[in-house]
């Protein structure tokens, strides 16, 4: 395609992706009285009142901390459980390997709403309702298929001789995994970890169902249920949206290559 046309197209796509964020930023620094009408599009003066409000009037820090804690624990657990499974499936001799991988793929397609009621009953019976543990357990399980699938691809791409050599040198299978294979699969771990983190950071349905109080609320639910006394406090919602988007922007910028790799690897190779 000719170059100026292509550049214009690319700029258009980027603008389309960014416009809603831009409007949030503008909304978040507009004084409340100017939010009630359009025009003006741009604020006549800048204010941080909405940012002050979400941190003062709403336990927003707590909500962010909950999300961060849940996402971090989920990522750690999913990798700790997923990496050995992927290692076995790609390097060790596993009977029914294809069937197991197909089953894992099938489970990754489970609609959450289909099993949310029995999970709710089970978690309540175990006394885990309204705890962050309930979220970590569910999220770990739901991100496990993707982690296993991705890491299996990564391990399988490593030369088999590496594992054989480690075994000849006296490593057990576990030693070969820990000392040889895992370090080499670091890019795969990073990709799987990032996708798991983003999934846990964004999940809504389980968080809405399994938590009941502000002490356990996570970002998506906190923003969806944002309290409004009289009208919807769009300025404050915008401030909150901008605040929670920042970490995502940081991740997407710093690791865009790994994220793209993770997103596409399984699909294109599988």
């Amino acid at each position: 395609m000719r170059s100026p046309l292509r550049a214009a197209g690319l700029a258009l796509v980027m603008g389309y992706c960014l416009a809603p964020f831009l409007w949030q930023v503008i909304t978040s620094i507009k004084p409340a009285e100017e939010l009630m009408s359009l025009p003006p599009l741009l604020p006549t003066r800048l204010t941080l009142e909405h940012y002050a409000a979400i941190f003062a009037g709403y336990p927003f820090l707590r909500i962010i901390a909950n999300s961060a804690l849940v996402a971090a624990c989920t990522t750690l657990l999913a990798l700790t459980i997923g990496a050995p499974a992927a290692f076995a499936l790609s390097v060790l001799h596993v009977r029914g390997r294809a069937a197991i991988l197909a089953g894992v793929l099938a489970i990754s397609m489970f609609p959450p709403v289909a099993i949310v009621s029995p999970l709710f009953l089970a978690l309540s019976a175990l006394g885990l309702h309204d705890t962050l543990v309930a979220l970590v357990v569910t999220y770990t399980t739901f991100s496990l298929p993707l982690a296993v699938w991705l890491l299996t691809n990564f391990f399988a791409a490593l030369p088999r001789e590496l594992y054989a050599a480690a075994r000849v040198d006296g490593c057990t299978a576990f030693g070969a995994l820990a000392r040889v294979m895992l370090p080499l699969a670091a890019p795969g771990l990073l990709a799987a970890g990032l996708l798991t983190f983003i999934f846990a950071w964004n999940e809504f349905l389980f968080a809405l169902t399994f938590t009941a109080t502000e002490a356990t609320r996570t970002i998506p639910v906190g923003i969806a249920l944002f309290p409004g006394l009289h009208e919807v406090p769009y300025g404050e919602i915008a401030a909150a949206a901008v605040t929670v988007t920042l970490p995502v922007v940081a991740l997407a910028t710093a690791f865009q290559r790994r994220i793209v790799e993770g997103l596409t690897a399984g699909a294109v190779k599988g």
Partner: protein, 285 residues
Amino acid sequence: MKIERELDRPLWYLLPGGLLLAAVTLFPLGHVLWLSLQRRSPLSGPPRFIGLENYLRLAGDERFWNALWNTVYFAAVSVALELVLGLAIALMIERAWRGRALFYGVILLPWAVPTAVSARMWEWMYDAEIGVLNHLAGAHVNWLGSPAWALNAAIAMDVWKSTPFVALLLLAGLQGIPQDVYRAAAVDGASGWTVLGRITLPLLAPVILVALVFRTIDAFRVFDAVYVLTGGGPANSTETLSIYAYRVLFQALEFGYGSALAVSVFACVAAAALFYARLMQKALR
């Protein structure tokens, strides 16, 4: 020595993940099937086995058919748009260029932000009185308040959010096509459209199929995008199967009938998955 030999057995590496998946997905799936055969609601006393009664009720429930139609409409329209737009974007950025990292970072954003957050962002832009969309278009459309527009408004948001994912997937597929094929076509004097129709698309077909699978299945189980944006309204015009099931389960607390609805979501997704699996088998042959 014995422990060391034990550590060579694949079972120990698969067991933790297998147990977790069994306990948190397979067991609940069995349980939800069992729940769907019971009458369980706050008003009906202790749970009672009623066979297939909930499913018979489903067949005659207009709200269920409405939700099913909304779900199918949402999935078909959003996935079709995402595929066409995603393909256009992928073809546009096919070759390597300098600003690529920035471009990737930018188009990842809609996908990476929590859907619940995007929904509130769009809700604000869609506002009939003071929304920026009406202002810029000089229109007075009640996007989220009118049954004719609301579901399409939700689709527009989903397209914004998911097209980047499709584009990146197809792009990875494009990069897997060997350059020789294109060079040969150029030597034969093939035009741009011929190359697209005869070479690029057929070679890209498997990846297109994968993108279709992922997106269709995601669209069939859509919940938060619509739930936060419209809550299923106005007048149930945006109520998808997942939302209807959720409302019956956790607002009406009818765990029996709600579970039957939940099973129907599962059946829809499974049907879509099987359909695509068939298609893929055919394509491979």
